[in-house]
């Protein structure tokens, strides 16, 4: 493979790769040391990064593990444990050159054997790895020497590198450590796992031999506090240095508190209202359109999230090149909705819809309650069924037994992962039963389109199609937030490009 071919293929990526390394290395810690107490909004579960499917656990694990490649703030793919990589012109061979002198927390050196081990256990069906599909086209993994890994694909799969950079898919664990990862994860990341008191707190400490320079803080204690008001109290009393997920209605309050500061961003999480195609009335485009017209997205955002977000018509990351900026949400128009329903044969009171909302996202329940009012005005009777997360997953996600629902996705920035999974008729996340041949063709085509610009165009087209056909009603990109004490620095490095996971490497505490 010739180097310049690669450059044309992944031009933008290489450019950032070069600029990335010095920028981080140049950065030093203004203050070193201290224990950072983080009020974490969720409970960590299985700590084996390749098995865990929840963002909450990844937020911790992303600090313990580094991947072969990663994504920067603007979602460009950059090397991490790999010093550089090359993709062959046919898109079938990936060569990674590993960084030398990288150490795992147990003191061992990172070699190509560890990479091979990590990926092969990941691909083993018995592992039950969530990211196994990322490796679906991988034919073989070769390690010609200690610092070179060659991955050969059976067929072209352009999203491979992007997927490898997200959700811990490319995380490398020491050879033979799979069995202990669940309880005592070991990686090559900036923080080292110390202990977990289940349901209570996780403690990490600085890994002094980290390849990119040791972290600023000595210790990170992530207290698992699911009750938002309790987290808030912890922050107020100084018991906690920073907390994520400030209750939406309290952000203004924290902003006005002179001892505290707020970090908030609106990329990473989008919410959409789902209509099930298996439910007969929703097969009619006019009904779907009518429902879109019933919803005042800005009002819904105010009601459910106290305005903490930005209304948007596309699920894509605004920062990504493929984002379709031309889409505008339909305004609320009850009269039009009524007319559309009448046209579809549903007079007032004819349509009765059950809305399954999960208590895992209380604001979905709030949103549903607001929808009930608008639907009533449009002559549709909406009833709510609250489901626990487990019930929602099994009923809506697996059994597709629902009429209407609402969901949010976070951190899915890789376009194939996002659009193919959600909208291709065979997509893994297509629980609405969307079957649109145009979208199927577009998403398949994107997989083998080598040119970035062309791929971005295709995905913009997909977004347009979803909007036109009202396959889903995307409502907003939700704000995520951190509340911190005034003396916490380096916050600009805290949130990863996916908008959902955090990196505490360069966060520091002023004395």
């Amino acid at each position: 493979m010739k180097r310049n071919t690669m450059l044309t293929m992944v031009f933008t990526l290489v450019g950032f790769m070069v600029s990335y390394i010095p920028s981080v290395s140049a950065e030093t810690c203004p203050v070193k040391g201290g224990t950072l107490v983080w009020g974490h909004s969720e409970t960590t579960q299985n700590l084996y990064i390749h098995q865990t499917g929840t963002i909450s656990t990844l937020r911790i694990l992303q600090n313990i593990h580094d991947g072969l490649v990663t994504a920067d703030k603007d979602l460009n793919i950059i090397p991490e444990l790999a010093e550089s990589y090359e993709v062959s012109s046919d898109g079938l061979t990936y060569t990674f050159n590993l960084r030398e002198g990288v150490k795992f927390h147990d003191g061992s050196d990172l070699t190509s054997a560890d990479v091979k081990y990590s990926f092969e256990t990941l691909m083993d069906p018995d592992t039950g790895a969530v990211n196994k599909p990322v490796f679906n086209s991988v034919g073989s993994i070769d390690t010609p020497d200690d610092y070179t890994v060659i991955i050969k694909m059976d067929q072209i799969n352009m999203p491979f590198l992007g997927r490898l950079a997200g959700l811990g898919a490319g995380a490398i664990i020491p050879e033979g450590s799979a069995s202990i990862q669940g309880e005592t994860p070991i990686g090559a990341g900036p923080l080292k796992f110390v202990r977990r008191e289940m349901g209570n707190e996780v403690e990490l400490e600085r890994f002094n031999d980290y390849w990119d320079g040791p972290a600023c803080i000595d210790r990170l204690i992530a207290k698992e506090v699911t009750e938002p008001t309790v987290r808030l109290t912890g922050l107020r009393t100084g018991e906690m240095d920073l907390i994520n997920d400030i209750p939406a209605d309290r952000i203004e309050e924290i902003k006005n508190d002179k001892n505290l500061k707020v970090l908030s961003w609106s990329h990473g999480v989008f919410d959409f209202v789902n209509l099930n195609y298996k439910h007969e009335p929703f097969q009619d485009e006019r009904v779907r359109l009518a429902i879109d017209y019933m919803i005042d997205k800005e009002m819904l955002l105010q009601g459910a999230l106290w305005g903490q977000g930005k209304i948007a018509a596309s699920p894509g990351f605004v920062s990504s090149a493929s984002y379709n900026k031309n889409l505008n949400q339909r305004p609320q128009d009850i009269a039009k909705a009524k007319a559309l329903l009448a046209e579809a044969g549903y007079g007032p009171g004819d349509l009765k819809v059950v809305f399954k909302a999960t208590t895992n996202y209380p604001y979905h329940v709030e949103a549903a309650q607001i929808l009930v009012e608008w639907f009533r005005q449009a002559g549709v009777e909406l009833t709510i069924e609250q489901l626990t997360w487990a019930d929602w997953l099994s009923q809506v996600w697996v059994d597709k037994d629902f009429q209407m629902s609402m969901m949010n996705f976070n951190s899915i920035w890789e376009e194939d992962f996002l659009y193919y999974s959600l909208y291709n008729s065979t997509g893994g996340f297509n629980y609405r039963g969307i079957n649109d041949t145009v979208i199927d063709e577009l998403t398949e085509k994107a997989r083998v389109t080598v040119d970035d610009g062309a791929r971005a165009d295709i995905y913009r087209e997909v977004q347009q199609r979803v909007f036109d056909k009202v396959h889903d009603i995307v409502v907003w990109h939700r704000n995520s937030s951190f509340g911190t004490q005034k003396n916490i620095g380096g916050l600009d490095t805290l949130v990863n490009g996916d908008g959902a996971t955090y990196h505490f490497h360069r966060v520091w505490i002023e004395k």
């Binding site: 299985n46 069906p125 969530v130 699911t226 309790v230 019930d391 997953l393």
Partner: protein, 313 residues
């Protein structure tokens, strides 16, 4: 001795029934364990694999015997949610909950016994009215309402005590007590009200008995008559009721621990239920039922120490 063996034997049968009920109920729980493990980022192939690996496709009887043999041999399996052996988790969470259950029982008894006795001594006088009214109000308030009030008062308004969290008593006992105090107090107040009513009723009965008159006729002071002659007879019944209330306490901690973010058995059970972590649900439900039963057995076996009339036959 034969009695104790008989009780243990009968306990074994009850435990067996408890295990069957637990197993049956958890197996008809809707929701897919494999799905829960993988979350939204899963795929059908991996799911099928996982189901097979978890033994979810085995016949129920086989699953049950595997489970019960595991429970008996100390292999309680792994939590699907936390990917950790269940035994140590339960031990840790049981300690945490044990602390608030015990503390709330102590608070409840320390308040209820004097109040109940006071009430019985001054039956139908204003002292009784005050104490009876307080206890009926106490019984009537939902315990999480107590919890909310206590959080508002002690944690928010006064800032004296932490409103949430759990600290391992092994690490810092005083801090652990501080964290356990509010949930215990909230639980204890509801329980206290119940026990006060019970103590009052028992003491009223005892104080109208002839031996109390005899004690007075001996010239003993009221203090001795009530607090020694009377109370010694109330210990048994009050302990029995307190034992029976353990069931109520272990139910209430589910709400209370969730409210106070106190990660004990109640929290664990709730998490397990929400996440359909079947092995964990089975273990927690089984352990709670077994512990409740065991506590009552212990109270029964201790009864002869409070009341020499009761012989264990």
């Amino acid at each position: 001795m034969a009695y104790i063996i008989h009780r243990l034997f009968s306990m074994a049968i009850t435990l067996f029934l408890i295990s069957i009920i637990t197993f049956t109920v958890t197996n008809i729980l809707p929701g897919d364990v494999a799905m829960m493990i993988m979350g939204t980022q899963s795929n059908p192939e991996a799911l099928a694999n996982l189901r097979e690996n978890l033994g979810l496709n085995d016949p129920l009887v086989y699953q049950y015997s595997k489970w019960i043999i595991g429970m008996l041999t100390g292999d309680w399996g792994n939590s699907l949610l936390f990917k950790m052996p269940i035994g140590p988790i339960l031990l840790q969470k049981m300690t945490a909950s044990g602390l608030i259950v015990l503390l709330s029982m102590i608070i409840a008894l320390a308040l209820a016994v004097p109040l109940g006795v006071w009430s019985a001594v001054y039956k139908n006088k204003w002292q009784d009215t005050v104490s009876s009214s307080a206890s009926i109000v106490g019984v009537s308030l939902p315990d999480f309402f107590w919890g909310i009030m206590l959080i508002l008062l002690f944690a928010r308004a006064l800032g004296w005590l932490p409103s949430s969290g759990f600290v391992d008593p092994g690490e810092d006992f005083l801090l652990a007590l501080k964290h356990a105090f509010l949930p215990s107090l909230a639980l204890g107040l509801g329980l206290m009200a119940h026990l006060t009513r019970m103590t009052r009723a028992t003491m009223t009965g005892i104080l109208s008995q002839e031996f109390i008159r005899v004690a007075r006729a001996k010239g003993l002071a009221e203090r001795v008559v009530v607090w020694q002659y009377g109370l010694a007879n109330a210990v048994g019944p009050v302990m029995t009721v307190a034992g029976l209330q353990m069931g109520y306490l272990f139910g209430s901690i589910i709400v209370m621990e969730s409210l106070f973010n106190y990660t004990g058995m109640g929290w664990l059970t709730y998490q397990a239920l929400l996440n359909r972590d079947i092995p964990l649900i089975q273990a927690t439900v089984f352990v709670i039922a077994a512990v409740v039963m065991l506590i009552n057995l212990i109270v029964d076996l201790l009864y002869p120490f409070f009341d020499p009339r009761i012989k264990l036959k």
